[in-house]
Homo-oligomer: 217 residues x 2
């Protein structure tokens, strides 16, 4: 069984590699884990010895199939717990992340299956991120950053980046939630800021914000 630290490193590698599609450098990983490169190297060797990642000295790491499965199991737990916290306990979505970071490490297959059932087998978490199923299958939606679309675009918000609590508070204030319809009325050339129609209300968004909103046309 993986230690808490191993699970956290593996999850970070999984996310940094965009779900296993590219390799991750030692410094990136150290940065993401708020630790030093030397520590990252040590852990890389450990995870490599356990066949969770493949590693070539000086050239970064990639998750193996086994590592991806383990990472997805953690992601599944994280997102189910976030859903529970918001839907059942009334947390706001900017509050859930750090508690879910703890809850995701509880070991009990029975617990997570029961929780999934209790929540009605949700497909996405409160930020719109897909929840892997019990077999580790993840449905990746075709979505793009709102900063990538042209003026005139119409679609729905599919997800928001869940990294920063202050961003989430701001998104909550302008009520930019997954599921809402959005239309780009105008895009300012100079700073790429947007004028959008969000739930029939006119809102201005800086690029800083728009790149954290994911949409599907």
């Amino acid at each position: 069984m993986l230690s808490l630290t191993e699970e956290n490193y593996l999850k970070a590698i999984y996310h940094l590699s965009d779900g296993g599609t590219k390799s991750v450098l030692t410094n990136e990983l150290a940065e993401a884990m708020s630790t030093k490169a030397a520590s990252a190297t040590d852990m890389i060797k450990k995870l490599s010895a356990k066949d969770l990642i493949s590693y070539e000295k000086y050239y970064g790491v990639n998750v193996t199939a086994k590592g991806k499965a383990e990472a997805l199991a953690v992601v599944r737990k994280h997102r189910l717990w976030e859903t529970f916290l918001v839907q059942k306990l009334g947390f706001t979505w900017d509050e859930v992340h750090e508690v879910a970071e703890q809850l995701e490490h509880i070991h009990s297959p029975r617990l997570i299956d029961k929780l999934d059932e209790f929540l009605g087998f949700p497909k996405v978490d409160p930020h719109g991120d897909p929840i892997p199923d019990g077999k580790g299958k993840l449905k990746v939606l075709p979505q793009v950053g709102l900063d990538q679309v042209k003026a005139g675009f119409q679609g729905v918000i599919t997800a928001v980046k869940d990294s920063d609590s202050n961003l989430l508070k701001y998104l909550d204030k302008i009520s930019a939630k997954p599921g809402l319809k959005i239309k780009v009325i105008n895009k300012e050339e100079y700073d790429e800021s947007l004028e959008v129609l969000l739930d029939n209300k006119k809102v201005f968004l800086s690029k800083e914000v728009s790149k954290n909103i994911l949409v599907s046309g």
Copy 2:
């Protein structure tokens, strides 16, 4: 903040001391923690330095007011999570203990208050053990082991000892749950086994079992 290990030791000391009413010996503690006396001594020094227990070399330890408060906070979390697992997720009471052992270490005051509210502020957990309130107050019920009462006794089951999963499965089979009325019809002198009326059904209980059932007259 306490480490996971410190929390577990402190909780063990609290339980072994019967809620802070008597001192605990090094070997008892080591036994309860499935570890060696030397390790227990080390941890005793650590907890003592943090003023959570008082300690006189060779004469055992006692929890301080501060230690008792910390221990009760963990007990509160444990019992609320057990209640959640049984009431909301449909766990049977013999399955909950080890999962609750993990969940009790999640740090988030907000989480535990929300959970308490979600469960409707329960007073006792599924085994009948009282749940400390947010201020660390624990209501101790006047109760006694079923092995201590005489033939003719009538009362209700207030709690069952939650230590052993096999015992709990057996209690479940004969449906000996907290809240049920119980009457002792006969007590065999020789082995102290009992013939009882439980929920209007006649059941035979060995002393081995009866001492794990707590009742109030």
